[in-house]
């Protein structure tokens, strides 16, 4: 599939709520984004920001967790929310696939590598085991597994972490999906291996034209991979922009905090500026801006607006939206004063 501007995935007003003993947890609040074929969208945020849950929800993987999902998710024009679970299951692993943070726990410890991939092929294709094995072997070779014949007969614990993630990637791409959700794919890996895996993902994306949702908290990875970025906080998107904009003209205090906390090797006077406070409880969200309790700039906004009124996700430019009560001028002044983003 060649690169086109065609939208593959369209998420509109997605809500995910969990009923727990402590109350209703609003894990995802009104999330919307589009992903074009062959492109990479990074979803960035702390743990608990809803970035993983939103992706699981659109894959139909939050069923059985007492979850209530509402909104609209169109995959290649097909509405997934509220659809027959069987039709969504048929998409999973075939046209949309997913890889996870910890490849050791994500691969079944009791089954051979080869068999786990063969199973992934056979569940969506009516072919015999031999043919499936041929396909698996080719894929494993493609993702860079040496001695494939031997490895196919091995179990996950016999492989190194990097190899395991290559296997996971191979397994997710085996049916040539149009969408790959990569949930923190390199977090559990050594730094050197991280780079290799990212490189592999990029190569494969080019080769197969796969659209990727990259879920991460690592802005370095974002810079390397993403075309577009959604920053999530407290279950909502707080900023949504092309990758360059996020780094050059981040538009709200939480994003500033994220960028400021990247260790910059070149910076002499490093502003290692972690965001104070804790992530919000998703039970009984405040009526004002979700980030307000940790925001250092809320006093710049008059009338305690940040405490009372939740800001809308509003466009700053054609492709850049953010959720903040600060004015454009206030933001520019702050960025300048604090040396955030590109200095004009």
């Amino acid at each position: 599939m060649s690169e086109t501007d065609e939208v593959l995935l369209s998420v509109r007003n997605l809500y995910v709520e969990f009923a727990t003993d402590d109350g209703l947890v609003s894990a995802v609040n009104d999330l919307s984004y589009d992903l074009k074929r062959g492109k990479t969208l990074a979803i960035v945020g702390e743990s608990g920001s809803g970035k993983s849950v939103s992706s699981m929800a659109l894959m139909g993987l939050v069923a059985g967790m007492n979850a209530k999902v509402s909104g609209e998710v169109y995959f290649d024009g097909q509405q997934l929310i509220g659809a027959d679970p069987e039709s969504v299951r048929k998409l999973r692993g075939d046209r949309m696939a997913m890889i996870f943070q910890d490849p050791l726990s994500s691969l079944h410890p009791f089954f051979r590598i080869g068999d786990q991939l063969v199973e992934a092929v056979q569940v969506h294709h009516d072919i015999d085991k031999k043919q499936a094995q041929v396909r698996v072997k080719a894929m494993l070779e493609r993702v860079g597994i040496p001695d494939v014949d031997q490895r196919m007969n091995e179990y996950p614990h016999q492989l190194s972490g990097g190899m395991r993630q290559r296997v996971m990637i191979g397994m997710s791409l085996i049916n040539n999906p149009e969408l790959l959700i990569a949930d923190e794919p390199t977090t559990a890996l050594d730094v050197t291996v991280q780079a290799q895996i990212l490189e592999l993902l990029k190569d494969l994306q080019k080769e197969f034209g796969t659209a990727i949702i990259l879920i991460t908290h690592d802005l370095g990875v974002v810079a390397d991979m993403a075309d577009e970025v959604v920053v999530m906080y407290g279950g909502s998107a707080v900023e949504h922009a092309p990758v360059r904009e996020i780094f050059y003209e981040p538009a709200m205090p939480y994003t500033w905090g994220l960028i400021a906390s990247i260790p910059q090797i070149s910076a002499k006077n490093a502003h290692l500026d972690p965001i104070p406070g804790n992530p919000p409880s998703l039970i009984n969200l405040p009526s004002g801006c979700v980030f307000a309790p940790r925001c250092a700039f809320k006093q710049l906004v008059g009338d305690d607006l940040c405490e009372h009124e939740r800001p809308q996700l509003s466009l700053i430019s054609l492709e850049h939206a953010s959720r903040c009560h600060l004015t454009e001028n206030q933001r520019t002044d702050i960025r300048r004063a604090r040396l955030i983003g590109r200095q004009k």
């Binding site: 894959m59 410890p109 992934a120 179990y155």
Partner: protein
């Protein structure tokens, strides 16, 4: 090798346990007006006058090579594997075990199949319906089943199914090759009574194992692959939760093979459990020793089999 070692230790412990008791086994071989000389004669005849170590070696020798009891014209042979001679029954212990063991094996295996199939499938069902009324109903029923003593279930079944409703004839054990129908009619209630007890436990065990493994990452992976829920449960989740089930199953089966005393008694099954309990009430030392050894051997063998099964189930165990 380990097994041989364990069995040796076991045989010594079993032998000492029952032969070093503060009761004179020779005294028990004759009736109330027994003279000391008679006791002495029987002591010699049974080799009980020998030191314990000699008695033990003689006993072990009997198991492998057979032995001869008594002296003069009153001798008799006990062929290998000779587990001793039961003075109270006037029979060789090996013969008694050989006749009673198959009964216990039929009983244990039949019940085992019933409870494993019933318990595991119900457990999976309950796990799938977690929190719904089906799950709650199953959990309630199993709690009751689990807390009912086996003799209660057995007697209840006998009195209702057999005595009141005449659904089955009175239990009367025959070998399956003698009269298959009667065998099945006799065994079905003991199978069910034993199975109810164990199935209740295995339902709960399977359910909790399933729920534990359902939150594992590889189950999420299996779902992400697009596997139907049935396969996710039965292949991926069950396989991962199988280890504790196999452990319990192996040991429970071994325990039953050593004799299901109460069930055998209630249903009049001439199995190992009845043999053992009869031996205990009559203080028939050779039989007590032998039945204990057989039962303990089952447990040791079961442990080894369970270990082998672990390796078959979990490749991580195999390679370490």
């Amino acid at each position: 090798m380990l097994m041989v070692f364990m069995l040796t230790i076991l045989s010594i412990v079993t032998f000492l346990l029952f032969n070093a008791v503060p009761t004179d086994p020779a005294r028990l071989t004759c009736g109330k007006t027994c003279s000391p000389a008679t006791i002495e004669a029987n002591r010699i005849r049974l080799g009980l006058d020998q030191p314990l170590i000699t008695q033990y070696l003689e006993w072990i020798k009997g198991i492998f090579a057979g032995r001869t009891y008594g002296s003069g014209t009153a001798t008799f042979n006990c062929d290998a594997p000779c587990l001793g001679y039961s003075f109270r029954n006037g029979e060789q212990v090996t013969d008694m075990i050989v006749t009673s063991l198959p009964v216990t094996i039929y009983l244990a295996l039949g019940a085992f199949v019933l409870w494993m199939v019933g318990g595991i499938s119900t457990g999976i069902y309950a796990a799938r319906k977690k929190g719904k009324w089906q799950d709650r109903a199953i959990m309630g029923v199993t709690l009751v089943g689990y807390s009912l003593p086996v003799f209660f279930i057995g007697i209840l079944m006998l009195i209702f199914v057999v005595v009141r409703w005449n659904i089955l004839p009175y239990p009367s054990y025959v070998g399956p090759n003698v009269d298959t129908l009667q065998f099945l009619q006799t065994m079905i209630l003991p199978w069910i009574s034993l199975a109810i007890l164990y199935a209740a436990y295995y339902t709960r065990l399977t359910r909790s194992q399933m729920l534990d493994t359902m939150s594992e990452d590889y189950i999420r992976t299996a779902r992400a692959k697009g596997l139907p829920e049935k396969i996710v449960l039965r292949k991926h989740a069950l396989r991962a939760g199988l280890t504790p089930i196999v452990t319990s199953a192996g040991l429970d089966l071994a325990g039953l093979l050593g004799g299901a005393v109460i069930t055998e008694y209630i249903f009049g099954l001439p199995g190992l459990g009845r043999l053992a309990i009869g031996a205990v009430t009559e203080y028939d030392l050779p039989t007590i020793t032998a039945t204990t050894l057989v039962a303990a051997t089952f447990v040791i063998v079961a442990n080894i089999v369970v270990d082998l099964l672990y390796a078959a189930i979990d490749p991580r165990v195999r390679l370490q």
